[in-house]
């Protein structure tokens, strides 16, 4: 397939670009295989234009077009030049709704051009082949291809655990992705369980996702495991290896918790289709807790409804509150935070190990395990640590980003497997950052950037659904890593929280509805002006900057030098 075939019209002149909160600009619109560009040239054609818009076409979620064919209508903006009168006959408006929730309008002179542009954008934005995506073509000069891809090897994480206990080992049972196609090649498993047993246990779990270590709590040596549901089925099948695997995690007399992210009823029903839960009789030392978390389609619809409500700025207070309620987004935030807190509490307070799973173990399971780690582990709250957490608990753990983030809240396309679980995670982290403003090393800006990049990116980090696919597509060899870009000194500064100071404690958030807030920075990013809030934030940064010890020292030094040596100065002056 050639991109050129999809582009019907490559350039159009005198296109008016407008979006909420910014003055409209006129310029030349260009479509390339991956981008939409609009450059304005106020000084005439001879001057180099300023680029007003540089939009990744993958970021376009929905294209809406409206054409007017009004022969008698003189658009008010034309000022009578011959070309303008020729075009005055017809025009069209394209509304681009982006995955990052931005909405743009392009007013295009000429009906045919308008239709061509719209269909070109539509075609280019729905190219589904991973290998055709922009990260495979993007070659920034400041970065090297291999940079950032091996920042967080699991071996390194394992070494930390190994330094404290010998009960775990790093297994490469999945090195060719045959045991579990959605797991990475290396996983951390109980040392007492050999690879053969792992293979057998994998056959007893949906998608082969046998229980693996997700987090080791150094404070008391408890662990958090994750897996998919066991394939008990209607006949209540058992698997000795799976039982043994979970059994070895617990010491004599110890008990553990299984947090199932489905309701008890849903878990029971899953037996009909071959799934199920761990029955008490076969796993006597594990106690099951059901904490239903929304996933899949209902979650996507919640996201769509919330964004719809946010975009309707004319609604009155009652309508706003009732739509905020009926979309249920904040309920999902509360449920996710509560469940993560429960898991964290089991480990930190009850000193019991935890196994988390739902059905597939790739969505709500990861939401809970990742969030629990942010709450428990201070090293996940640094900029680098958080990247490592995402790499380990979302990307390598096989959250299907390609399927879940294919479409965002505006798309008219029929929903397939889209669901904003990653966004829900980011929202929960944002809630934590609001309740503990000094405890996270990164700020809102990082969370927004991650959201944007999960849905449309120049970088390969969030491409594909799992490590196996990434291997096949050679993502690590032929695309750049988002982390390499984020961690450049100049770039990194933008994501840091100036108020951060290391907090070794567990951060227990309040999950009262009065404490949970709508993430305005994300949902209203393109809707309301945040000028005054940004200015206030800049002032905070300035104050913090002025308060840092080095600044004080330098001022102090300057003074102390001049004070200590007055004679020298007087001599100089003389």
């Amino acid at each position: 397939m050639e991109f050129a075939e999809l582009i019907k019209t490559a350039t159009v002149e005198s296109v008016l670009l407008s979006c909420v909160g910014l003055p409209a600009v006129k310029g030349t619109l260009c479509i390339t295989s991956h981008h939409l560009l609009l450059s304005s040239c106020p000084g005439g054609d001879s001057q180099p234009g300023t680029v007003e818009l540089w939009l990744l076409i993958r970021n376009v979620d929905a294209v809406e077009k409206r054409v007017q064919n009004l022969g008698w209508y003189q658009p008010p903006r034309t000022n009578g030049s011959p070309r303008d009168t020729r075009l005055a006959g017809s025009s069209g408006t394209i509304t681009l709704r982006c995955k990052d929730l931005k909405v743009l309008q392009l007013e295009i002179p000429g009906m045919e051009e308008c239709l061509n542009i719209a269909s070109s954008i539509e075609a280019l934005s729905s190219v589904d082949s991973v290998m055709m995506m922009y990260p495979f073509f993007y070659r920034p000069q400041s970065l090297k291809l291999e940079e950032g891809w091996n920042l967080f090897p699991l071996e390194q994480y394992f070494q930390q655990i190994a330094s404290q206990t010998s009960r775990w080992r790093l297994s490469d049972v999945n090195r060719d992705f045959t045991t579990c196609p959605t797991y990475p090649p290396a996983v951390i498993v109980p040392a007492a369980v050999d690879d053969d047993a792992l293979r057998k246990a994998a056959r007893f779990r949906q998608g082969g996702r046998f229980p693996v270590l997700s987090y080791y709590h150094p404070k008391n040596g408890t662990v958090m495991l994750r897996s998919s549901q066991p394939l008990t089925g209607p006949n209540r099948k058992r698997c000795r290896e799976d039982e043994m695997l979970l059994g070895t995690v617990l010491d004599e007399g110890e008990r553990g918790f299984i947090i199932d992210t489905r309701s008890a009823q849903a878990a029971k029903q899953a037996r009909m289709t071959g799934g199920g839960t761990e029955p008490k009789s076969s796993y006597p030392r594990w106690r099951r807790l059901h904490r239903p978390l929304e996933r899949g389609r209902p979650l996507q619809e919640s996201f769509i409804k919330l964004v719809e409500a946010c975009n309707d700025t004319s609604i009155n207070m009652d309508r706003w509150l009732s739509r905020l309620e009926s979309c249920r987004w904040l309920s999902h935030v509360k449920a996710a935070l509560s469940t993560a807190c429960l898991a964290a509490q089991c480990m930190d307070r009850e000193e019991a190990s935890v196994l988390v799973h739902g059905a597939e173990g790739t969505d709500t399971t990861l939401l809970v395990t990742a969030l629990a780690q942010v709450i428990l582990d201070p090293s996940c709250r640094t900029l680098v640590g958080f990247q490592g957490l995402l790499e380990r608990e979302w990307i390598e753990a096989g959250h299907p980003f390609h399927l879940r983030c294919a479409r965002s809240a505006y798309s008219h396309a029929r929903l397939k497997q889209e669901a904003p679980l990653f966004l829900l995670f980011l929202d929960c982290v944002w809630q934590l950052s609001r309740q503990f403003p000094f405890s996270l090393e990164f700020g809102e800006h990082l969370l927004l950037t991650l959201f944007d990049n999960a849905y449309a990116s120049d970088y390969g980090t969030f491409l594909c659904n799992n490590e196996k696919e990434r291997c096949l597509c050679k993502v690590k060899e032929t695309t750049h890593s988002l982390w390499a870009w984020l961690n450049q000194p100049g770039e990194k500064k933008k994501y840091l929280n100036p108020l951060y100071s290391h907090n070794a404690l567990v951060i227990w958030p309040s999950v009262e509805p009065q404490s949970i807030q709508l993430w305005q920075g994300l949902f209203f990013r393109w809707i309301r002006s945040s000028q005054y809030l940004d200015e206030a934030w800049a002032e905070i940064e300035r104050l913090v900057e002025g308060n840092k010890p080095p600044v004080k020292e330098s001022a102090g030094n300057r003074l102390s030098q001049s004070l200590s040596d007055p004679a020298a100065r007087t001599e100089n002056e003389r």
């Binding site: 059901h290 309508r319 509150l321 009850e350 503990f436 403003p437 100071s501 206030a536 002025g546 007087t570």
Partner: protein
Amino acid sequence: MEHIRTTKVEQVKLLDRFSTSNKSLMGTLYLTATHLLFIDSSQRETWILHHHIAAVEKLPLTTSGCPLVIQCKNFRIVHFVVPRERDCHDIYNSLLQLSRTAKYEELYAFSYNPKQNESEQVKGWQLIDLAEEYKRMGVPNANWQLSDANRDYKICETYPRELYVPRTASKPIIVGSSKFRSKGRFPVLSYYHKNKEAAICRCSQPLSGFSARCLEDEHMLQAISKANPSNRYMYVMDTRPKLNAMANRAAGKGYENEDNYSNIRFQFVGIENIHVMRSSLQKLLEVSGTKGLSVNDFLSGLENSGWLRHIKAVLDAAVFLVKAIAVESASVLVHCSDGWDRTSQVCSLGALLLDSYYRTIKGFMVLIEKDWISFGHKFSDRCCQLDGDPKEVSPVFTQFLESVWNLTEQFPQAFEYNEAFLLQIHEHVHSCQFGNFLGNCQKEREELKLKEKTYSLWPFLLDEQKKYRNPLYNANFSPELTLLEPNTVSFNFKFWRNMYHQFDRSMHPRQCVFNLIMNMSEQNKQLEEDIKELEAKIKQRNGQSSAVLVKEHQQSAHPAPVALKTPPSFQKEQPLIPVNDAVRTIEGSNTADNRYSEFVAEFSKAEPAVVSLEYGVARMTC
């Protein structure tokens, strides 16, 4: 004192009102003439002023004792369990008596003694001078003058003595107009915008009924329009819903007929009355006080209470007023029914949006003194200072503070004061500890001799203004008369957690950016001062040392003291770093403080475990 039968009860439990388990603090309850005091086993004190008590309730006896629930006007709710029913009954009866005061003279303000001498007391009351404030606005001037018509409260009992009216409004016009207005509250100046030469005026509803007219009142409005040289027409804002205003016509009251008044533009803005507001707050508190609330119940409860809708209506009205003045340079006359509730809200918020002076600490005090206290907002009735008609109680002033808070959230750098300032004012409006808010109008306050017998709140707030300062305040953000243009889209109005859950610690962020920033900015200021001081010393010293050189060590002792002085002032900056860290350390964040926390897993006990996900609370009962 005759109401107090038991002064001390031991072994009293204080329950956490949101906890689903029966987690509690054990301690001793003391009853004094003015306060209820609870000291828990770790010596933490909880003081509750009797005047703050809105309701006391005795719940049915339980096995652990007799529960006593106290609701306060500052939205604190405490839940005690007293071991013996007789003690509980005694305390209950005492509190019931003590929280209801029949006479002003029994209020705390009359016995409160802050150890000020008489001249300090007088000076305190002189801190806010409204005559000075009108001068600052630019009146009297060619068009506006001070009227002595109400000098003896003869025309209107609930207005202050000193009123500003258009120069062309003669005494007969004033008298005539006042007779045509509810409670004699005729149109007077509330705020004068000197750049636009436009005025905010206030009054009560006209006694127009279905057809009555009053030429003097028509002249009065004409005089107000004419006092504005830049615009021919004026707006008349009736802040009530149209239906209410029409209903009033049947009672011989009502609103202005546009045909009878020349050049007025009449507008309803639809703020509900005090009764609607009272029950709205009631509903809001019921919702926010529910144990184990789900997000959806919270949001639907918030919607059903209508509270945020009312706050938005008040701010929308103020925005309408401000646009008339700032965009059209038109004067505006604001009224509601009696002109002391909604009118006070809209006039004061309008002025706050128009004039940056009211966004300073001192300016905000002036604003409250002017539009609320002097113009007769009935603080005593609305805040139930004396045992009176419960139908007169209404959170009108609370709504004003909440509107201001919403503005501070939208414009974090525009206000010199912070949230704590608003909360503290709210606290004292109900505390009856200071004289400012006692009574319903100025006349009553004079009769009570408040200025001799009580103290003014403002000097005390000003003394501790460090606490109330917004560290992000930028005076350049809003130079004189800079307009604030708030966005009143629905999603900008949020539930004011720090007001309604001020005392529920577990709900608040565990780390406070505000305090940190406040300390940092204090330190920065201190450092800058130190630098200046030191630089001054360098200059001085350089000057001296050259002098010394000229004089060839004749006075070698002279520079020495400077050299000796410098080290102490220099050392100042060393302890700053640890202080800084101390501020950053967080309060103990505890699962027990949070709602998923009542999780008691006792493995040793027999199965089965029943685990419920009630309200997102992980609870396990074995």
